[in-house]
Symmetry: C2
Subunit: 255 residues, 2 copies
């Protein structure tokens, strides 16, 4: 049984609190936020505080706060030599003040407060300087049903960058599809099964093997038709750039 | 019960043959391909031919052949005034020879021969000049369990273009994520749950509402870190272009 203090009251903190509360291998003994209001609705289920000097002794302190707050908040913690882990994909382990035992517990998923999350679908990327600390973090991830991955800082940063491509950038392509369909009175909804299928396909097949379409085939007629259909010059730029990216990957000439 | 002749033996033809064979509201009375070899393995379940002059009379002829073959093949059909539909997203209805009753039966999904497909996940976009023909095509789609959508040529072409964004271009972003993770010895596999979640999110939420991340937040520090991490100048170009696309959508300044 590992005792945990959570710091921060945002998306990640809230989902972690719920997940830890649902396992009997962990207990959240205290929840800190600089602004206590955000925690008010939890005060019957956990001790809440906005006062760092009141923090209890625990096996693990999770800093689920904004990236920029990790460094200053870790320095302000009024104790040393305890395990302190942040949850960020892009912040260095060494941003945590060196008076602590330092770790990273990075849940590689997109969290939003409203949507429920199944931690079986949240790989937790773990980093620690000492083997004991690593195992505390790993066992905690296992307790909430998450797959775990040992990663070093370089790997974690590159995973965070790759996550931007497959999450934020992909979502922007969905957005553009939304714009161009609506502009012709077609329905974005018709594309939803294809969106899902595209994501499912690469669960078993490499993206390289999964690729199809006019760019890969170098079907010049269709490529020309598409560029003509696109009214927005920014959409044309994206069409051209991703088409030539596909052709570079699959050994075709540029457009 | 609608009688169908399928022409072509590729991905779409094969999946449609299987789907039609599984409903008792349709019967495939003949399957044509210019190259009979591709059909050999089906010869015990359906009459096969490579001879257009031997085509039987049917309620519907489905031209599931390459886009460029639709026009010439439709002209070569040795009959007139029968319903002939192609399955393409980008070819005009009017590419079918005008001696026929013309229609389009465009299954908006990504087919590959190896992967099984559930036609409940394949919206069929239907176009026809006459109401009777439209209903033949619509009932056939319903018979195989597909949602149907009446679309005109402009809408269909824009859906096909949008499909390139959400399928081929999205898949290329997965590919880039694969390249950058492997180059650091990180595992692409760790991203798979995020890929699925990103696609699932927009099933209920608009892509606009679903967006998160450093580009939307205009988190300059992370954007700079990411650009520094990217070694390949083409990846940098894509990062910059999609970041500014997100910022345009969400009312931020360009990078
Ligand atoms: N969201 C995701 O999908 C996701 C996924 C994986 C990892 N992460 C990482 O998890 C961490 C938290 O992200 P989040 O999405 O949960 O953020 P969030 O929803 O924006 O919440 C941020 C929290 O940090 C607190 N905070 C901000 N500045 C602070 C400061 N100077 N001192 C003390 N507390 C401060 C905020 O307090 P107030 O309530 O007082 O504003 C808030 O509780 C970040 O490192 C992020 O990179 C996020
Ligand atoms: N694949 C998809 O995901 C998808 C999705 C929706 C719509 N579509 C559309 O469906 C149609 C078929 O696509 P597909 O993916 O099934 O293609 P495919 O797998 O490449 O098969 C093409 C078929 O067309 C035949 N063909 C090519 N040129 C011909 C010609 N000049 N005369 C007669 N037959 C010819 C080929 O015959 P051989 O066997 O002799 O080469 C082959 O049987 C296209 O209009 C495509 O745009 C495809």
């Amino acid at each position: 049984m590992v005792s945990v203090v959570i710091l921060g009251a945002g998306n990640v903190a809230t989902h972690l609190f719920k997940a830890f509360s649902n396992t009997n291998q962990a207990v959240v003994i205290q929840w800190y936020n600089r602004n206590l209001n955000a925690l008010k609705s939890y005060k019957t289920s956990v001790e809440i505080t906005d006062d760092l000097s009141q923090l209890k002794e625990a096996d693990l302190y999770i800093l689920a706060v904004s990236d920029d707050a990790i460094k200053p908040l870790s320095s302000l913690l009024p104790f040393e030599n305890r395990l302190v882990a942040h949850t960020s994909g892009s912040v260095s382990l060494y941003d945590i003040d060196k008076k602590h035992k330092r770790g990273v517990f990075y849940p590689l998923q997109s969290f939003s407060k409203s949507a429920d999350i199944n931690f079986a679908d949240v790989p937790v990327c773990i980093e620690a300087l000492k083997s004991d600390d690593y195992h505390v973090l790993k066992n905690l991830a296992i307790a909430i049903g998450s797959p775990t991955k040992k990663v070093n800082s370089d790997q974690r940063k590159v995973l965070h960058l790759a996550a931007v491509f497959v999450n934020n950038f992909t979502n922007q392509l969905y957005r553009i599809a939304h714009e161009i369909t609506e502009s012709e009175g077609a329905e974005f909804d018709v594309l939803k099964p294809l969106i899902l299928e595209t994501a499912k396909k690469v669960q078993d097949l490499s993206p390289y093997m999964a690729q199809t379409g006019p760019a890969k085939r170098n079907d010049k007629k269709t490529l020309r038709k598409h560029l003509k259909l696109l009214k927005d010059p920014h959409h044309k730029d994206i069409y051209n750039l991703l088409t030539s990216s596909i052709q570079r990957t699959h050994g075709r000439k540029k457009l």
